[in-house]
Amino acid sequence: MYPFTFIKAPTESAALAAGAQGGKYIAGGTTLVDLMRETVERPGKVVDITALPYREIESGPSALRVGALVRMADLAAHPVVRSRFPVISQALELSASAQLRNMATIGGNIMQRPRCLYFRDVTAACNRRAPGTGCAAIGGENRGHAVLGTSDQCVATHPSDLAVALVALDAVVLLRSRDGDRRIPVAEFIRRPGTTPDKEHDLRPGELIVGIEVPGGAHTARSGYLKVRDRQSYEFALASAAVALDIRDGVIRDARVAVGGVATVPWRLSDVERLLIGKAPGAELWAAASAHAADGAKPLHGNGFKVELAKRTVERQLASIGGAA
């Protein structure tokens, strides 16, 4: 770990000022401290924001609003989230371990850096960590890497389960800086690697996540998250699917489908959704729609199985949420 200074910001304005001077925000610390230990992150100044007030979960008539400092465990257990946004509860509870969920915050969750084995090893080539050094994963061990949204610069999988659910539900990130507030859809906030894999988020210097907002509706109540992984617990997804369906009178009125574990960002499947909307739910529809779940996939030598796995994961979750009949 490189030496750093540590301050605990007593107020929002103090935090924003420290952030504007290049301070790195820390809340639960479950990602940042790990990365600092591996010397992947070498911040000169760390700003503890846990004294700030963003700890509310507000469920309004049309949206759920979650403070950035809400713990993963608390959001997952919230009764309104459980009943009206089960996909969020499930994504959270299938993440990490109970100990980590008790520490990690919602803001930190969507700021997670990738679990690429080369990204986390400072002796390996990695364009995301050290731009211009190359990508060791493309020709290396890439069983866990992405098949969608990749570039010739980076193929790291986005690690967050929660973010997959948020992208499926068109959630918005609430940002604040000394220049004012911004609202950015999570789907735009988390960026594809392209030619600048080091630019992971649409986050301006010193800007702070203060919360997220998730629009609710009939579909969010009928939603769920499926995570497929080698180990039953405490592992990142090989493939996952967030599905939300509004089915009335035997017709799918609204459909939200996103996959995780297979893409460089939480991957919304708009084509699959279009195939679902207006149709009657059933096994044949699930199969036909999910056949497009990995359209455009570019498998590497170690992760070709993810193409089929993504389709099957989506199919299973459509059947689970929409009914197999």
């Binding site: 770990m1 084995l117 080369y118 080698d230 299973r316």
Partner: protein, 712 residues
């Protein structure tokens, strides 16, 4: 005596210390003036070191030294060269761990790289004979394969695995003049003392190694590794105590691994399921600088009656760190190929897998021709089948519950009952307590607890009055705590010493006119709760006679030696059964339940033996479904060297595990009737799971681990 301590489910005698933080592990020692050492390790697999820049590190606050030359210390790999990725090349020493870590991270190692080969499958990797495992043949196995009528001929692979115990490798070394004290994580305090003495060229007698507690090891702390030597070396260089703890990442190249293996197993049989020939060709990876062979060839040669067997073992030296034994070393690898093949044979000849094994069970060791000291292999198979409900097994793909296919599989397990000469001292104190001690170790099975129980019965004392000591090289000589040999060996020594010291006090009493036992026949004297008595005589306590003789205590050190094994072969047997579910579309394999039935002779402590067996099943689940050390053979880097990416089973992966032990004792093997358990309980597990996966899905996976991509 009816209230024997042996056979009771006593809780660990050191359990309270362990769960309350009172047990001091190696890294818990902080002698005054301590420096923290952090290794700088190589980031290439083969190179010549041309220079190491330490100026930046040395200038950092708190840094005491950065050692780069390793002069005057013997290491297993050549000096000035890099022989594997992750090799120690420098040591940063500082006042705090964080300072030392930071210093190590800014040391720059300059090298001239050489072409490296790290994969045993590389065309440039050349297989060579093992010096430890000779080629073997009986009859003409290749002719048997030609004759058939049933022939199976398949290849099996097992991924490299790392041990991943909770406790990281750690050494604290402190010199006092020419005397060295080492608080270490080791399965063999005396072996480590010898190794360090030789590596630093100091007398063996000047090195004391202490390790009373081990936070798991699974074989990784058996031999002595470079970091242990380097900690002592650094302490001598800087003239201060030094603590060196490997990081989890460094552990992957620092303390060995189960080598990756390639096997061909070909088997011929008659339509009646009787095996007529076995050809086993085996290869494992090894370091170029050091050959490591393991007993993966043994079971295919030994376990079943086959008149014709041919077996070869080759090592493939590559530019990697040295391998070492990991629970069930070799046997679990060979058993995976053998027991998977038996399952295939069962289907081909349409005979139940348990019945097939019963038809081929041997009544004697098929390599040596000697009978077994006790042979209850068939009993394990029958009892296991009954207890597990094996009769409910259906043909492949026949059981479905929703999206899950359900299958059952089984496999045999066997392991030699290794035993070594071992010494122990037993001491009876006049206050009615006793101490028993040996320089053995306890990496988790509960050695200290079992020693207390055996000593209590040998001494005629309640177990609460007996204290067991271990993990100090100054105690009586013990072999390495490995190979499932500890309880049979150390336990026999403890028993012998305890009986000897009890007899010594009894003799004192019967020869003492002041004793109520005067002139009693010593053979008729019994001891209960520390009270000696004999028919027709009175009774008195140990302490009474000791005090009359002016003694605070009396002790006896005894060495127990196993027989030469020429007349009979001492073996442990078992059978393991598994039920799995496999998601029909997603390929996910989950264990539903498992049961192992074992013959390990007398069970000294059923509670600890059960835990031992459950641990073996869990390790086997890891090997079968999850564990694989991922390497990038472009540069030899281990890429998943952490506990998030190297997967071991978590609680959710191990639902319903049961183990049972056949009653009885094998007194032909040891005076206490004990045989080993630790290796046996993992040996059949991967094969049983692979067979269950086949029964569920009809897909035969011959490459471990069985991950979902192999079943999509």
């Amino acid at each position: 005596m009816t209230d024997m301590a042996t056979g009771t489910p006593l809780s660990r005698v050191d359990g309270l210390l362990k769960v309350t933080g009172g047990a001091d592990y190696a890294a818990d020692h902080n002698p005054p003036g301590l420096l923290h050492a952090v290794l700088v390790t190589s980031t290439v697999s083969r190179a010549t070191i041309t220079g190491i820049d330490t100026a930046k590190a040395r200038a950092l606050p708190g840094v005491a030294d950065v050692i780069t030359d390793f002069g005057g210390v013997k290491l297993p790999f050549p000096a000035g060269e890099i022989s594997f990725f992750g090799q120690p090349v420098a040591i940063a020493l500082a006042g705090t761990l964080q300072q030392a870590q930071h210093a190590a991270s800014v040391v720059a190692v300059r090298v001239t790289e050489k072409p490296a080969v790290t994969s045993m499958d590389d065309r440039q990797a050349i297989a060579v004979p093992s010096e430890e495992v000779a080629d073997y043949a009986r009859g003409d196995a290749d002719a048997a394969l030609k004759a058939g009528p049933i022939v199976l001929d398949n290849s099996f692979t097992v991924a490299r695995e790392n041990h991943n115990p909770m406790e990281l490798p750690a050494t604290v070394a402190q010199w006092s003049g020419d005397e060295l004290t080492v608080w270490d994580k080791t399965q063999w305090v005396q072996g480590t003392g010898k190794h360090i003495a030789a590596a630093l060229d100091v007398p063996e007698s000047s090195v004391r190694v202490i390790c009373p507690f081990i936070g798991g090891a699974f074989g990784s702390a058996g031999r002595t590794w470079p970091h242990q030597v380097l900690a002592a070396y650094a302490a001598r260089r800087v003239k201060r105590p030094v603590k060196l703890v490997l990081t989890r990442k460094q552990m992957y190249s620092g303390v060995g691994y189960r080598p990756e293996s390639r096997q061909r197993l070909a088997l011929a049989a008659g339509a009646d399921g009787r095996i007529t020939g076995i050809v086993h060709e085996l290869k494992t990876e090894t370091a170029r600088y050091e050959a490591y062979s393991e007993d993966a060839a043994e079971l295919p040669k030994m376990l079943y009656t086959s008149p014709n067997v041919r077996s070869t073992y080759r090592l493939v030296p590559v530019d990697v760190s040295a391998g070492t034994f990991m629970r069930g070393p070799g046997f679990v690898t060979g058993a995976f190929a053998l027991e998977s093949t038996l399952d295939e044979l069962a289907e081909r000849v349409d005979i139940d897998p348990v019945e097939l094994r019963l038809r081929n069970v041997a009544d004697r060791n098929q390599i040596t021709g000697t009978p077994f000291t006790q042979e209850r292999f068939a009993d394990c198979l029958r009892r296991g089948a009954e207890a597990f409900g094996w009769a409910r097994r259906r043909p492949p793909k026949a059981r479905r519950e929703g999206n899950l296919l359900i299958g059952m599989g089984m496999a045999s397990a066997a392991h030699p009952n290794y035993m070594s000469a071992a010494s122990a001292v037993a001491r009876i104190n006049a206050d009615g307590t006793a101490v028993v001690a040996s320089a053995t170790a306890d990496m988790g099975p509960g050695t200290a607890t079992a020693m207390s129980q055996l000593a209590a019965d040998g001494l005629g004392l309640p177990v609460a009055k007996v204290r067991a000591m271990l993990g100090d090289s100054t105690l009586p000589t013990a072999p390495m705590h490995a190979g499932s040999a500890t309880l049979a060996s150390i336990g026999s020594a403890v028993h012998t010493a305890s009986v000897a010291v009890r007899d010594a006090v009894v003799r004192m009493a019967v020869l003492d006119p002041a004793s109520p036992l005067y002139q009693a026949d010593p053979a008729t004297v019994t001891v209960h709760n520390g009270v000696m008595s004999a028919p027709g005589h009175g009774s008195e306590r140990y302490g009474d006679v000791l005090r009359r003789h002016g003694k605070d205590s009396i002790d006896s050190t005894q060495t127990w030696k196993p027989g030469d094994g020429k007349k009979a072969s001492s073996y442990e047997f078992g059978a393991v059964f598994a039920e799995v579910s496999v998601d029909i579309r997603l390929g996910l394999v989950r264990i539903r339940r498992m049961r192992g039935v074992y013959d390990i002779g007398r069970v000294v402590n059923p509670k600890l033996a059960h835990s031992q067996a459950i641990g073996g099943l869990v390790g086997g689940i890891g090997m079968a479904l999850l564990e694989s050390t991922a390497r990038d053979h472009r540069d030899g880097r281990i890429v998943n060297a952490n506990m998030a990416d190297y997967l071991v089973p978590v609680h959710a992966d191990v639902p319903d595990l049961e183990a049972e032990f056949l009653d009885g004792a094998d007194t032909a093997s040891t005076p206490i009737g004990v045989k080993g358990a630790a290796e046996l309980v993992i040996i059949g597990v991967p094969a049983a799971i692979a067979n269950a996966v086949y029964n569920a899905t009809g897909v035969r996976v011959r490459d471990l681990p069985i991950t979902l991509d192999k079943l999509l």
